[in-house]
Symmetry: D2
Subunit: 280 residues, 4 copies
Amino acid sequence: MGIALGANRYGKSGVHLVVVDRDVPRHTITDFQIDIRLEGDFEAAHVTGDNRALVPTDTMRGTVFAFARTQPVGQPEDFGLRLARHFVATVPSVSAATVGLRATPWVPIADRPSAFIADASIVRTAEVRVDGDGAHVTSGITDLKIFKSADSAFSNFHIDDFTTLAETDDRMMATIMTADWRYGTGDIDWGDSAAAVRDILLATFADHDSASLQHTLYAMAEAVLTQRREIADIHLLLPNVHHLLMDLSPYGLDNPDQVFVATTEPYGVIEATVVRDGRA
Amino acid sequence: MGIALGANRYGKSGVHLVVVDRDVPRHTITDFQIDIRLEGDFEAAHVTGDNRALVPTDTMRGTVFAFARTQPVGQPEDFGLRLARHFVATVPSVSAATVGLRATPWVPIADRPSAFIADASIVRTAEVRVDGDGAHVTSGITDLKIFKSADSAFSNFHIDDFTTLAETDDRMMATIMTADWRYGTGDIDWGDSAAAVRDILLATFADHDSASLQHTLYAMAEAVLTQRREIADIHLLLPNVHHLLMDLSPYGLDNPDQVFVATTEPYGVIEATVVRDGRA
Amino acid sequence: MGIALGANRYGKSGVHLVVVDRDVPRHTITDFQIDIRLEGDFEAAHVTGDNRALVPTDTMRGTVFAFARTQPVGQPEDFGLRLARHFVATVPSVSAATVGLRATPWVPIADRPSAFIADASIVRTAEVRVDGDGAHVTSGITDLKIFKSADSAFSNFHIDDFTTLAETDDRMMATIMTADWRYGTGDIDWGDSAAAVRDILLATFADHDSASLQHTLYAMAEAVLTQRREIADIHLLLPNVHHLLMDLSPYGLDNPDQVFVATTEPYGVIEATVVRDGRA
Amino acid sequence: MGIALGANRYGKSGVHLVVVDRDVPRHTITDFQIDIRLEGDFEAAHVTGDNRALVPTDTMRGTVFAFARTQPVGQPEDFGLRLARHFVATVPSVSAATVGLRATPWVPIADRPSAFIADASIVRTAEVRVDGDGAHVTSGITDLKIFKSADSAFSNFHIDDFTTLAETDDRMMATIMTADWRYGTGDIDWGDSAAAVRDILLATFADHDSASLQHTLYAMAEAVLTQRREIADIHLLLPNVHHLLMDLSPYGLDNPDQVFVATTEPYGVIEATVVRDGRA
């Protein structure tokens, strides 16, 4: 019984591309942090040290910057597709390329044409994979810290010997949302779609009468699938940023749902994919 | 020649207080991360293990939450003053108390009364010190990522044997601003003042014809002192988030100030205090 | 076409258990950071807000601490198995439980029986999954920063229009190793096996005549599989911590492979699984 | 009343120098992360945009690497002194230079001559300042995670309306130590002194019968000053990494000081400088 190479991939992470367009009255800033991974026939490199099939990760980095010059960069999904297709099409050993992107938006300061402030509340992500089955795009938003001070309960849950949590019909709910979704067929306006998904997720979070974080997660995802027909499925990852009601009785004080301790650890994590029926 | 205790202090860090006011049509969220430090006569605790002068850091934490219940929390500066004065006034061993606060604003989602999104672009800080000389308030803003795509040069600098940087009359400028300032006498509307300072700093950053990051720092600080008479001095800390023009010539491409590499290390750091004349 | 719940799971992260055994002449410290994830029939919780199938994540946390009292904790793998089996066996809705553990070793200070220093160079990890197919254990080590100052080349790689990297027959190699592996059948001494794997990985890294990081990765994995028959397959994740030869010619100096810039971004990432033939 | 520049400084951070000496049978690795700050007459740069007094931070970075080639780097303190003296001596506008260094030790893997593992348990720091008063060296060690499972009490402390902490004559004590110290006159063997200080701090932490973290801090510092005459004063910063005894009574279990929750926030912080009498 021998030993053999199994699944493997390699690439470059942390490539930080900033493109400035100053040929317009109001400048625009494109800010992408990019990770690239290649899969393919790299067995000789691993087993015998024959590197002829390996694209140096330095070349991946150079390709990012060169591509940013030769054509407009476009949306994260567009640029990821261009890069991923390039590696699969031009490097014989490469059978699949995955490009992850994180786009930080820069919005104008007041009405100034050439000064900007980063808007951390609307960071977009994309992951593009090109392989023998074609191109696969996942779009997302991340790091959205949201809080809900009404309409959140958690009761009637499973009880066992290790249960200490009290049931409640009124609690604070907070999370740092990461969402990513895949598209069905058809031409997609990536930026328009992401903005719409964000609005739907936020509005549903705000309006939902929540029995649990799972319950709200599903409502948020269902609203996206109902209102945005271009989206095939959506995955939400919702850490539960616990806000514990502080016991003020040692100080002779009551606490009518007013003073909370926000904790970082431990934390609950809820995640699910919601799909259109008939899809995986 | 003996050995003796010198300067010393202790306290609690990472106290995360969240207060929710639901007795109003539109709920409000107050979110403060708080550090407390006490100074005083703690020699016996150090030298002989006699703890009678020590307030446990657990008590400091409890005081934060109890105080949040007994009176409205108010602005970070208000709450810091209340806490710092309490320790100095009530604990005989304590001669000085310093309270640091970091306030995260939560803004309503759309027009909803009980759902919020954190606005990371306007985190406020405060440091309040109460000692034998009275109360000293420093207010600040932090983590403001800003970028300027025009009107920034860096040339005519000191040249020596280790100079490799080229002079430029047109470069990208980016920083992650931290500002803190002290007030003169008089009643201050802390929130109003902080918002005004933020606007002045941003507008000046945008409009300044910059010869260096130092030059822009001074212009920003000078504008604050000129326009806000209540402020006595201001300190700015500006890391230089370098955006290097990518050399695309290996790929046969030019790069007319368009494609940049954003780097994290190493980074320049510029800091200065700007004062009204006659003050330290 | 309707909308339905797809893959989903939830749990608690960041549970930090420390068990101190003082009933022995030399105390022992067990320090585990634990994440738990449950899968099962949670559709009603998501879709209708019926929580009866949900174990609160607070209960998961409590179970960790209670279990640490009722039996000796043992190795990370042992404790993970106990926890994962408990949730699958006792909660009707749960079909699979995954427990991740990170074990920090505390080694005695000098020869003292009750004082310890954390040894960050030998953090062990484990991931235990119990589902309908039985129990699956992955063991690992992580965060091992290693450096190799000889016998490392990278040349004869794929060349294209975006290649700028020079070939070299002598470069610095550095990485922060994460390794995880699965076992075949039989009783395993988890601690002994992990220590042996660590030694083999380090020795092979040191001795290998490397044509690339892929080449060294494979040699390291192959050595483990050759020498430790209990291991079925092993996965290595090796970021390439680049050490760039500094160009000192602007200062009129040569640099015979002596002065390097260590960079954090961008960075290469190499990963692969190496298996015994006939296994996936 | 005008506006004027107050205290100011600038420099480069995050310069990561690695020097490899391969002209010896066993290679050696020197790994320094370096921050440089300059003070001086930079008023024109700030006020009028005249940069002639400014050394670009890029030049500071280049100087680090060039200096690493022209002479042996030596200990962190040696290299910091060389750099700081250079800037003050050669740049007319500079009146003071401060160089901070963080040295990561790389220890040989087994007995190999050219392979290394980072030893995070003995990171050394230094801060060197050269100004009109001469050269000032502070040496230190940092990030030492230590734990003590016996001989630690905390009782008889100040009680007030906000006290909830119970007194205890037996608790766990853990901290992540940062120490820095200054030297008196005379030639110092920096490496030897730092190793000795580390051993004294650890042994005293282990052996001390502690009434509080303050009490142990003082004992540790006093032991250093008593045993190492070359050291003039020492500052210790000791966060209190709380290990809370878990209340297992909800599960029908006792907990005889055995099962603990390690928490990250909030945390106590204790710091003090201990001096030889007659010094500040």
